[in-house]
Symmetry: C2
Subunit: 193 residues, 2 copies
Amino acid sequence: MPRPRAFDEESVLDNAMNIFWSKGFEATSIQDLVNETGLNRASMYASFGDKKALFLRVLDHYSQKISAERFADLRNIEDGRAAIEKTFRDAAKTGTAEGRHKGCLMVNSGMELAPHDPETAAIAHQAFRRAEDTFAAALNRAVDQGKISKGKNVRALARFLAGSFQGVQLMSRRGADQETLQDYCETILDALD
Amino acid sequence: MPRPRAFDEESVLDNAMNIFWSKGFEATSIQDLVNETGLNRASMYASFGDKKALFLRVLDHYSQKISAERFADLRNIEDGRAAIEKTFRDAAKTGTAEGRHKGCLMVNSGMELAPHDPETAAIAHQAFRRAEDTFAAALNRAVDQGKISKGKNVRALARFLAGSFQGVQLMSRRGADQETLQDYCETILDALD
DNA sequence: TGAGTTATAGAACATTCGTTCCAAAGTGTG
DNA sequence: CACACTTTGGAACGAATGTTCTATAACTCA
């Protein structure tokens, strides 16, 4: 009955995500989104609501697609300590890859908007908590496996790792050189000893 | 001969700094600056140039006034290890103080603008290097004083501390709770052992 | 006191912003 | 084929953006 959509919602979100990721919320204009997604203004507003609503959809999309992938090894590698180490080393590697100085959309958005936008603040906070819990789970595995001393305060260590992981994203976006980022990561991992 | 200025350049920079610090570059409008500084548009443009030029002046002002103060103890406390510990604990304390979730203007600006603005990127990079060197100096003092093991890689540790200090600012701006931030800081300091 | 100089106040500029509206286009069902 | 319905393209909206202009005010030095 109705005219069918000429676009794929998922790929529109992908494109919108990349613009927000690269430029941030404020610096991204509706015109940018129209240009890059190929989607018409009217269709954008009809399908996603206003700029802010689209942005929140994008944050969710990012969580499910990018964040999930970044933490996949941390969840799936059985050896808890190896899982943590690979997670950081991968982040350091992709963080210094050419033309990929975008950091993490969740961290970027938290920094840009959290102080004045409770909605984004809550999402960023929740994402941090999830990361913290995922690190805690890996740490508990590592303790059980005898790869990390039983004497460690797992919760504090998990918070440290989650915070430091954000730090890696931060330094990556700021364009830190590979050597600095590697030193940073390796010293973080030394905290596991 | 000329009509004298009705404003104090320093206090205008102070006010402008606080707006940029709180809202970021993009979200701060000229109107905001006019309202908050009390300075007229024409006078702003005559004295500081356009928005970007004013922003760069503000970054410099921040470096001299706020950054310098934040790193004063790190430079001045003779005991290198105590200097480092106090620097982090103070940052964690002020970072969770009510209504002070602004983080660090240098970190914020690097995150927001570095990927697309080489000028800001260079300034943020230089600020990081300065912090790294200041931490390295304190670490060297601590090693000489026998407060930190001789076996440590001071350069890597300095990079770690500088990166982690940015992380504290990040978490503070994102509105992390006090307990999380304390755990984060204490674990960072454990790396000195 | 008046000439010279610069700051001030605020109107005015073109452009871009986010958003809405409307007519045309495309689909499946009666 | 025509109806009901939704998407599409693009014009149009007012408000806000960064910036400039003009006229007036305030001061110092001759």
